[in-house]
Symmetry: none
Subunit: 218 residues, 2 copies
Amino acid sequence: MIQTTSEENYLKTIFHHAGISNNAVSTNDIAASLGTKAASVTEMLKKLSTQKLIRYKKYNGVTLTDSGTKQALLIVRKHRLWEYFLVEKLKFSWDEIHEVAEQLEHIQSEVLVERLDSFLEHPRFDPHGDPIPDKKGVIKKSDSQKLIDVTEKKEAIVNLVTDQPELLRYLSKIGISIGSKLKVMEKNSFDQSMLLLINGKNKVQISSSIANNISVQL
Amino acid sequence: MIQTTSEENYLKTIFHHAGISNNAVSTNDIAASLGTKAASVTEMLKKLSTQKLIRYKKYNGVTLTDSGTKQALLIVRKHRLWEYFLVEKLKFSWDEIHEVAEQLEHIQSEVLVERLDSFLEHPRFDPHGDPIPDKKGVIKKSDSQKLIDVTEKKEAIVNLVTDQPELLRYLSKIGISIGSKLKVMEKNSFDQSMLLLINGKNKVQISSSIANNISVQL
DNA sequence: ATATAAATTTAGGCAAACCTAAAAAATAAT
DNA sequence: ATTATTTTTTAGGTTTGCCTAAATTTATAT
């Protein structure tokens, strides 16, 4: 039942790529995310498949089984709890935590996770605003949507951003953080870029790929 | 400079066996502690030797270099800080913490260790009473305690003895004086007598009344 | 529809860290 | 001082997770 660090990283990556609807994920996408090569991914997929953590047919991409999803959610739970700990207790800033949380998430101890959760008083969202699955792997949904889907002239409050450090640094540089008020001034219809007014002050143009990685509440 | 988990475990084990005086440690002892075989140890010793972390001559045991000692102390620092965290913040009992601390000590992040240390308010001793090295690897000596209170397998340095001439004569006869290094090999639970290893050489059995009159520092 | 390109898998290798069995060196015992 | 025993090292394998290069399958384009 216990996974190696490498297996855990594969499960987590598949989970993140599959999204809520558990879409099939391609070998190449996994390789790109993990910084490995496609051949290595194929190898690992076979291994995870024999453990019934994924459904894998040659050339067809993979999906997580229920068991695999559960495992992935527990890793995500650990990652986000540790992130919360790092920011709330150890006073890390949110662009410093990713690398460390990547290591901490692999510590194997169920009791540790539950004690940590209690110590932190059962936080529901990590410092990026991402929901923390409970110990059964259940994620409570927030009624947020992607910034890219927000219609023109609407105002929204930033809810969560991905934990890619570069993106986080860029966003903080242009003045976007969790809680920022964004007003969509213009949406460029052919490249999906948008002009934002941030906290009623600064105007910034952002690309669709960035807008795609910011989640907001209206 | 960064060690693998395995290399770190070897360094830590050598450190613990060598004691404060950095005695040579045997291949077999390392293998026994780590649950590996002597052949595997030999292999790793070669590797650590080329990294100048240990001094290794075939068939001669190993000692840590200054660099190796420093690395070992930093691992010990991390281990003990995490143990303190687990007990003081997460309410683990002290017999639950070892396994988890064994994992946590390998997390690679200097800033994490220093922030954890601050968060815990710079504890000087872990829950077992062992001193926590500072960030430079310096161990502050604990206050002295009675030899009879030293736990099994611990090493201590003789600090002072009472001034009863008979006792002094007896002690000098069996090779114990101020500055002697004592390792508690066995504690007999019903008469409180103990078997000591003196300066890494001679084994001596002493009664509780003698152990009660020797003061040591860890 | 067939050629080209892209994605994926297979085949064969490599390094780390372990193993067993046999050889060599050091230590202990007669 | 030789022999016997223990310790350590060498030699040759194994597994995990990675790699490159070549083969295969699927997708794209003319």
